[in-house]
Structure formats: structure tokens, C-alpha cells
């Protein structure tokens, strides 16, 4: 098999995070965050609510300015970018082209008053596509890719189930072939029965498209299935990080041990 003889080669990080801090009040926010994210890597950020993981995600995805520190991103269009030193125009271009943001509540990430096709097509139009036929064709292909019947293309998201809305949100983000996706509790509001299907789909898409993902979740089962490595947060600090199964099966920090031991075994 050719894949077996391929040599592992180190590559440049996609995202470099240096001494990043954002506090609303002492203990509220996140501080001293340092890590690199590499192309194709899925990083899970876990911890209880209030641990600062959502704040961190907002700072990383250029939606909330930090108090201190840097986020350096390797952009396809602009080269190396210091996210909070660069032009806001560039950050906004990233958000609609090279990045995707999947919100916990689909209605925060979708336009509920326009059709599914328009929701997917918007990003294409935002990056300059002006051919209706092409937009429609690609919207249809992406609906199918996220397992939504393409005959629903003209329906509004409000007519969709929660799971479908979440899948539509994913399609809307992926249509411009982003290289980095931020996800905030993507399975959070869904029934357990719907979660599994979404997780399997996400896992497949991430592997197939070679996406880099930063996913915030409080659900360690979700983290185990999707993330290559984890950062465990508590009171705004990273207390432990490493390979996902190592962190979950052989936790070192007292807080991680407590977190892991609190899960019900099946």
C-alpha cells in the first residue's frame, strides 16, 4: 500500500496562539492560552460551563478582541495574518471564505427567513459568484452531502427539524471549502438519536476534506469521537492537554480525573 510507505512530514501550523487572554472579570474568561493547530487537526476544548471555553472560541475566531496575546493565522489569500493586528476587512473576508463557524443554535448561524438554497448560496455570492445556475447546482450538491433531500432546496430552515437545521448550517459553511472550522457545541441542542448521525457525518466530512477544526464541547463522548487532541479548561486556564484518548483514559490533572470519572459508564 502506498500510504504505508509515505513518510510523515512536519508542516507549518495553521494557527499559532500565543499568551492569549480575555477576562471579563477576575476568573471570568480565559488566560495564558498557548497552542498550535496544524492542518487537518481536530482540537477539542472541553470543560464545564463557565470554564472559559466559549470565550476562547470567540477570541480564536476573531469575534472577540483579546486583552493580550496573539492569534497568527496562515491564510490562503493573505499569507500570515496576526488576527488582531490586521485589517477588519481581512478578518471579515476570512469569515466568509476560509473559515466556517458552526453555532450551537442553528438559528444563530442560518438566515431563517430565506430558503435552504439561499442559505448555502450566500457564501458563494459573498465571494463573487454571480451565476444563478452554478449557485443552485452547488447548493443542491451540498444538501445531498449533508443528507438533506435536495427537493427541500426551496424550503425555509424553519420548516426543518433541529438535526436538519444543524446539517444545513454545516453545508452553508463548507460550500466555500474553508480550511478552518470553529464549532460551538454542534450537537448541543439535539436529541441523542440525532446526535450520532450528525457526529458520523461530521467525522466523515472532516476526514474527507482534511479540515482543521476547533470544537468546543462539554460532552466528552463527542470529544472522543471527533477530536484528535484535547485541551481541558478550568476557570479560564488550560489544565491539561494532549492526545484525546490519552487525556480521557489516563488523565493526569485532578480536575480532568474528576471530569472523566463523572461520566456514566455504559
Amino acid at each position: 500500500m502506498s500510504a504505508q510507505t509515505a513518510q510523515w512530514q512536519d508542516v507549518a501550523p495553521l494557527l499559532q496562539v500565543r499568551e492569549l487572554s480575555k477576562f471579563y472579570a477576575p476568573g471570568k474568561g480565559c488566560g495564558d492560552i498557548d497552542f498550535d493547530l496544524y492542518p487537518g487537526e481536530v482540537l477539542g476544548i472541553v470543560g464545564e460551563s463557565g470554564s472559559g471555553k466559549s470565550t476562547l472560541l470567540n477570541v480564536l475566531s476573531a469575534r472577540l478582541a483579546p486583552d493580550a496575546g496573539q492569534v497568527i493565522y496562515q491564510s490562503e489569500q493573505f499569507g500570515e495574518l496576526d488576527l488582531y493586528a490586521c485589517d477588519e476587512a481581512q478578518r471579515r473576508v476570512l469569515m466568509r471564505s476560509e473559515w466556517g463557524i458552526v453555532h450551537q443554535h442553528a438559528r444563530d448561524g442560518l438566515r431563517m427567513n430565506v430558503s435552504a438554497g439561499a442559505n448555502i448560496g450566500e457564501r458563494l455570492m459573498a465571494v463573487g459568484e454571480r451565476h444563478y445556475g452554478n449557485i443552485r447546482e452547488r447548493a443542491q450538491a451540498w444538501l445531498e452531502a449533508v443528507e438533506i433531500d435536495s427537493s427541500r432546496i426551496d424550503d425555509r430552515p424553519s420548516q426543518f427539524s433541529g438535526g436538519m437545521q444543524q446539517r444545513l448550517q454545516i453545508a452553508r459553511n463548507l460550500v466555500t471549502h474553508p480550511q478552518l472550522i470553529f464549532m460551538d457545541e454542534p450537537t448541543g441542542g439535539l436529541d441523542v438519536s440525532v446526535q450520532a448521525k450528525l457526529l458520523d457525518m461530521l467525522r466523515g466530512l472532516v476526514a474527507e476534506l482534511g479540515l482543521s477544526v476547533i470544537i468546543v464541547t462539554h460532552d466528552l463522548a463527542v470529544a472522543r469521537l471527533l477530536a484528535h487532541r484535547l485541551m481541558v479548561m478550568r476557570r479560564g486556564q488550560v489544565v491539561e492537554s494532549g492526545l484525546t484518548d490519552q487525556v480521557l483514559d489516563d488523565p493526569q490533572h485532578p480536575y480532568t480525573q474528576l471530569l472523566v470519572s463523572s461520566i456514566l459508564q455504559n
Binding site: 500500500m1 510523515w8 448521525k197 484528535h228 487532541r229 490519552q246 483514559d249 493526569q252 474528576l258
Partner: protein, 229 residues
């Protein structure tokens, strides 16, 4: 002979912070070398740390001291020091691990579960599917189950699905944690054949087997993992 696994003075202590900070040493001063085509069977009393050691070889557990160097093509990787993405690349192409427990996303059909590791390497779907079918057939998993998710299967069926998944990629290093436990004689024999085929193509195998017949059929060497004092 090419050395595939080289373990030097590995030590491991568990500390349970939430149970009064209790510490107990599990591994101490363990060294081991495994060559390509060789099968080493870990030996020792229950609780001696065999399984912990095997998990350390997979980087599933961390170690406190020592080095675990695995050969990945032309490169040598010390997995106690390597970054997570290096270990993931290693696991995708080089390092296989089969336990007796199946851990997969619920509701994914058996055939998909089995072929996934090969698909992840970018191998064509038809090739993956053909190989998955062959393995499931050899392991006597009835074809009517292939399109169903394994979560509803019996323990033995799940275990065989897991073995098929573990053997679908021709890993140069294979770690087996009691894969034959609770299998019937016929299926144990299939697993023995799979292990011996892996050895013949040059895989280095490290395993834990409780069945003496399996052990004798595959082992080149027994290595004692002694309970640390």
C-alpha cells in the same frame, strides 16, 4: 532483523488525585525490543500491568520515565515525546491496536465500521469494501448483519467486527489486547491465522492472550511483565 519496537526503562505510576492522592507504581524499568515478523506475548499475573504496558505502546497511556521508540518507515519515533499529530499519523499507517471491546459511533453500519481505517488512508472505496467483506466472511459475521450497526450485536459478534476493523490495514506494528477472549474455537483459529499472516508479511506483534492454544500458535517469545513492588 529490523527492530520495530524498542522500549527502554519504561516506568508508570498512577496517581488518583480524587481518592486521597493514592499512588501506585504499575511499570518499572521495562525494556523490550521487537523485530519485524516477530510476535511477543506478554506474560504475567493478572494485574501485573500487561494491559497498561500495551496501552503505553499505543500511546493511549503516558509513561513517567523511559522511551518507547517505534519504527515508522524510515523514521524512528519516540511516542513518549511525539506531538499528538505525529502519533495520529503513526496510528493511521503503522500502529494497529485491537482490544476485545468495540468503540464506535452509534448507528454506523458494520461494513462502514470495518472499512473506516482503510478509507481514512485514502484507499479507494471498492478496495476497502472488498477487503472488509473478506474479513467479515472469514470471521463468520453473517452477511445479513453487515448493513446494521454493531451496537445491537452479541458480545462475540461485536468482538469479531472489532477484529476485522483491526486487521483491515496491514499495520507494520500490531498490538493485541486479548482479542480472542470469549471467542469460540473456530473463530479463535481464524484470529490465529490472521496473526500469522501479519507476521509473515513482516508485522511486529505484541499481544496478551489468555488462551494457551492461541499463545502457542502465535508466540515467538514470552516476556514477563512483573508486578512492581
Amino acid at each position: 532483523m529490523t527492530t520495530m519496537i524498542s522500549v527502554q526503562n519504561v516506568a508508570k505510576t498512577f496517581t488518583l488525585h480524587n481518592q486521597g492522592g493514592t499512588s501506585f507504581a504499575v511499570l518499572e524499568g521495562i525494556s523490550l525490543a521487537v523485530a519485524a515478523g516477530e510476535c511477543v506475548v506478554l506474560h504475567g499475573q493478572s494485574g501485573a500491568g500487561k494491559s497498561t504496558f500495551l496501552k503505553a505502546l499505543y500511546a493511549n497511556y503516558s509513561v513517567d520515565a523511559g522511551a518507547i521508540v517505534l519504527r515508522d518507515g524510515e523514521q524512528q519515533v519516540d511516542i513518549t515525546q511525539a506531538p499528538p499529530r505525529r502519533i495520529i499519523a503513526l496510528r493511521q499507517q503503522t500502529l494497529g491496536y485491537v482490544s476485545q471491546f468495540l468503540r464506535v459511533i452509534p448507528r454506523v453500519p458494520t461494513l462502514e465500521v470495518v472499512m473506516q481505517p482503510l478509507l481514512d488512508l485514502g484507499v479507494a472505496r471498492e478496495v476497502c469494501e472488498a477487503k472488509a467483506r473478506e474479513l467479515l466472511t472469514r470471521l463468520n459475521v453473517p452477511e445479513r448483519l453487515w448493513q446494521l450497526a454493531p451496537s445491537t450485536f452479541s458480545g462475540g459478534e461485536q468482538q469479531r467486527v472489532n477484529i476485522a476493523r483491526g486487521f483491515i490495514v496491514d499495520y507494520p506494528i500490531l498490538l493485541l489486547d486479548e482479542p480472542t477472549a470469549s471467542l469460540d474455537a473456530k473463530n479463535r483459529q481464524v484470529v490465529v491465522q490472521l496473526i500469522n499472516e501479519a507476521k509473515r508479511r513482516g508485522a511486529a506483534v505484541v499481544g496478551i492472550f489468555h488462551d494457551e492454544d492461541v499463545r502457542e500458535a502465535v508466540a515467538d517469545r514470552l516476556v514477563d511483565i512483573r508486578l512492581s513492588k
